[in-house]
Symmetry: C2
């Protein structure tokens, strides 16, 4: 029964059997070597281009140099409303000695071709944009003239040759290089092409990318989520990232781990697409199915499987019948990071796009970041503004978390030869977007859903808030270092049986937040708990050996409460110690545990029964030096506003 | 007949009559006041939103806060392939004293809900991504185990509570604020929504913008260009810019200056769109038609007409039945600049988009830039890297030129109270795109189409070239200041009857380019020139009073040649002095002149007859200090490559 599991996770497919810790790295390639092999197997390749209507060309990539077929303007053009004249007639004229010019009997409105020459002593009325007639070498503005009755005009200014004329080809000359192959077409390039009359442009053909998810556990967004199943995140995010990098994604859906069906789908996709991207199941067994198929899909086949890269070691790169075939790791952050690092550059090059512009910023890292020796490691970080520059916090939920990638501003790189980055180190962060928008308000500490109604008015007023969940103690440390405006904490001091105030330091002050009722959560209808008081409920739970609890992590305020409830007892489930109120509720709702201690709003949202125990105080440590900042003042106003207080009560909190 | 022209250009519609120079500025508003009035008439307005499928949501703007309806992960999840255990069983284990655990008879592959509890002394096989069963509080990795024959497993490591488990809700907790209203949805946001199972998102409804061009002179790209007509540039570029700023453009075409038809089109557009953008004809008369229609289209009507802004004074801003109606100036650079400065912010706000991020850089301005007192003036500039920072060259072809806008990197602002920016001044440039890509090679000087085949190999190799056409003397000055790598020049020295070499200074050297044959161009079949030698041709031209020439500007090498040909004669057309070879050819081809002096490739491209006179040398001034730069070396290789020489010959040049 264990055979399917006796495979080192992330090991190359050739290495099987448990416990072979040395062997599994044998064919792991460095990130650079893997990319080099992949690139060499894909390129060079003949560029694929097509004609595209001008109005559809936005964002496309020019496939050939464009040369202007005409002069722009196509003729000598008047830049003002006025009269086309011979400048010689006006060389010495002015207010005192105006010239009288006879009007030629035509008016050169826009689009009207002149039929008469301008000879000395005459003038032809001409509009801005009108075609300068034969014989004329200057335009006088209508403001510098006075109409005379007898089809003549008086001119009160001197004129110089060429004045108010844009000469043919002075903007763009016929035969001039207009736009080079490889240019990404924006509105400005559209304007250049339109001015030259080009209605169709040669553009690089878009790269058609088949996107497949694999895994028995996947449900598509919008479907009901079965037990033990998760929503397919990779399908949607990879399709979107393909589009952002010049590809046309074709999401073919999630495939269960059925080798025949998956192979049929991949062969069909290979015939009709330019590239295939699979995001593998997270388990090794599931991954092997994909790898076996790719290995027989076409030549040259797999060029790299296993890369000394974190996140992303299980990445598999192949080229089959000249088409890239990629198996991304199953975890979302691993999948997205490897896509951007290794796949997007290939896709962009196939699509004729230039490499993505990268913006780097210097940062200080406030906490130690561990790294694995021998692998280039990338850590996703969120940035906040400190007193002496940018501070980078690891988003830190691991590669299994979508938020690790989605909520990061960028990443920092730890070289393969380093085993950590020390706290306080300087580092360079590569941003995911070219612009870094420094948030107006930074909140670092313990998270609470009660924050949402308080922050809502700030968001409505256009203030941006960055909220980093690092726990109460991490928030307190950040506040002491001046890295945030506010640190929400709920720290219990057993000596004084009070919350929060005793943990302050110089330069910090406490702003009262709200109270959260903690209590025993259980599945509604469970007779061991339903209708019982707290002491009775705990006694019933301890008396039943089949009754499992779910605990909390060491250091949580709630854990202190639980340990007091249990005394010396260590019931089943005691070591199950998740780090959040929500995880406690989920364990009980899913019958993995029968009871635990959480807060009332969370228990209620999960549909659980609840026996109140005691309130904890969720307050805000305010960095005094930042108190007068307008975003902080806006926060304080919102915190005390009647609407926020009402919303907090509705959600089950008790505002202070 | 002149009545249609007796209107001060750009004056408000209420001010009519020629020569009223004071009055025309009476109702001109400052840029800030005009924008304030426009904004106040458009906002506040109820936000318009709609539901959008997740796969179509890329680039859309979230219209409401999103709260996660589930915990992510939805259950306590294994992060590795291995065995779910009770950590207490393994607390003191290691290589020396492995534990033997009995296997529970189920395997928790992904998507499989556990049915059995893990009790002390037992283990359940579990995949990465599998659901942690009741009773288990840790996962041991398969590598740290050895399968035993009798449905048991040996574990050789200690385990701590919670190891390799991601707890339910640890990534995203149920009820947690996921994404705020106003967020622009990128692939990362798609990932967040997918992880929570959201298949449809509330997004801001796109803003439907009707785009109309007006003017009798306009031809659409792809159509044949009639005499005196020009291609409609504004229609395509405005539609593209609308799209880039969150709108859905609907280009309704170009309308001739027919008041009834234009009004009918605008009333229809107003009924079915959220905004109308007209780009007016360039002439005052044409503009008045649009203004009269807008004035009666709906309340409150025109809020600003005439803005103290350059380019862009004729801008007209109106709001009719709560919908913005805008008449942009007719000239392309004026139209685009005012669109980006005054219209895009309104459009983006209507579309729920944040303001466009602006990047500013510090620059030095190498030349004096004149400015009109009393108007905020914006000058489009190209940037090059100098020895001590960025240098900003005005693109300088005026607001009538599409290239002034399209080839600029950004713009600098000259305040209303300044009448110029002195040469050498420091200034701030706002970039059109967030990234400034410093070109690999900078060429400043005289332009020649012969450059194109020489630069083509560089472009193929991914090198970026910036080529600024400022004439030979401007290029020489830039080279002396070290602002470019190469300055192409063709400067004639009458004293030595030679080109270019005598104009060098210390630190500069000359690289031979190619020769261009100058000669007399005429319409094929003109008996005054056909078959004649040069002297005979000029004599014939001078003998015919109806024969018009086209000259060149003072300072052009060609002008010296022409003056020698003419001696003391000043024939008709002498004062028509365009600044380029192409303008000379166009004037002759369009019968605005009969003969002139231009270079052979240009005359041939225009289908003209040609009588050779003398060659001019087009050479490159090289800044010696930059000679070893790889892009310069690549240029020199390309210049001397047989393919370039062959291409130059094909185009009618004679490589040195």
């Amino acid at each position: 029964m264990t055979k399917n599991f006796a495979i080192a996770p992330n090991a190359p497919a050739t290495v099987r059997g448990g416990g072979v810790e040395q062997e599994q790295f044998l064919s792991i390639l460095s990130r650079e070597e893997a990319f080099r092999r992949f690139e060499a197997a894909v390129f060079p390749r003949p560029p694929a281009s097509e004609q595209c209507a001008l109005e559809d060309a936005l964002g496309r990539v020019l496939a050939a140099d464009l040369v202007s077929p005409i002069d722009v303007p196509p003729f000598d053009r008047s830049n003002v409303d006025g009269f086309a004249v011979q400048s010689n007639d006006l060389a010495t004229r002015g207010q005192a000695n105006p010239a009288r010019l006879a009007l030629n009997p035509e008016t050169l409105a826009c689009g009207v071709a002149p039929t008469l020459s301008v000879s000395s002593g005459t003038a032809t009325p001409i509009s801005t944009g009108g075609m300068v007639p034969r014989g004329a070498d200057a335009i006088v503005m209508v403001e510098h003239t006075q109409p005379l009755e007898d089809d003549a005009v008086e001119v009160r200014r001197a004129a110089s040759a060429g004045q108010f004329i844009s000469y043919a080809g002075s903007d763009i000359a016929r035969g001039e290089m207009l736009l080079r192959a490889g240019t990404v077409i924006g509105s400005r390039e559209i304007g250049m092409a339109a001015a030259c009359g080009l209605a169709r442009l040669p553009v690089a053909r878009k790269v058609k990318v088949a996107v497949l998810s694999t895994g028995d556990e996947l449900a598509q967004p919008g479907q009901a989520l079965g037990p033990a199943s998760v929503y397919d995140t990779n399908g949607a995010i990879i399709a979107a990232a393909v589009f952002e990098n010049g590809g046309v994604p074709d999401f073919l859906g999630a495939f269960p781990d059925d080798e025949d069906k998956l192979e049929a789908a991949m062969r069909a996709a290979l015939a009709t697409h330019d590239m295939i991207i699979l995001s593998g199941g997270t388990s090794k067994g599931a991954g092997d199915v994909s790898h076996r198929i790719v290995a027989r899909l076409g030549q040259p086949g797999i060029v790299a499987h296993g890369v000394a890269l974190k996140p992303g070691k299980p990445l598999c790169l192949a080229v089959c019948e000249a088409k890239p075939v990629v198996i991304l790791p199953g975890f979302p952050t691993s999948a997205m990071f490897t896509f951007h690092d290794m796949i997007a550059p290939i896709l962009r090059r196939m699509a004729g796009l230039p490499p993505r512009a990268e913006t780097r910023v210097s940062v200080r890292v406030p906490v130690r970041i561990a790294s694995e020796l021998g692998r280039t490691e990338f850590t996703m970080v969120s940035l906040v503004q400190g007193d002496d520059g940018l501070i980078a916090y690891p988003t830190g939920k691991g590669s299994g978390a979508i938020t690790s990638f989605s909520q990061a501003d960028g990443f920092l790189r730890i070289e393969a030869l380093a085993d950590h980055l020390p706290a306080g180190a300087q580092a360079e962060v590569t941003l995911f977007t070219p612009h870094l928008r420094i948030p107006d308000l930074v909140i670092i500490g313990s998270h609470c859903t009660g924050l949402d109604p308080v922050l809502a008015p700030l968001a409505r007023d256009g203030l941006t808030v960055r909220s980093l969940s690092v726990g109460s103690l991490g928030g307190l440390a950040a506040a002491k270092r001046g890295e945030c405006d506010l640190a929400p904490i709920h720290l219990y001091d057993p000596q004084t049986d009070s919350y929060n105030a005793r943990f302050l330091a110089d330069g910090l002050e406490l702003v009262a937040g709200w109270r959260r009722m903690q209590g025993i959560a259980f599945r509604a209808g469970d007779q061991r708990f339903e209708g019982a008081g707290a002491n009775e409920a705990v006694a019933n739970a301890l008396a039943d050996p089949d009754c499992l609890m779910v605990n909390r992590n060491q250091g949580a305020g709630t854990r202190i409460l639980i340990d007091r409830l249990l005394g010396q007892h260590r019931p089943g489930g005691y070591w199950n110690q998740p780090r959040s109120h929500n995880a406690v509720a989920a364990a009980i709702a899913q019958e993995r545990a029968d009871w635990g201690v959480t807060i009332e709003p969370v228990a209620k949202a999960a549909g659980l029964g609840f026996i109140p125990l005691t309130e904890e105080s969720y307050d805000f440590v305010l960095v005094s030096a930042r108190k007068q900042r307008s975003a902080v003042q806006a926060f304080l106003s919102a915190l005390h506003a009647p609407e926020s207080r009402e919303a907090l009560k509705q959600a089950g909190f008790r505002p202070a």
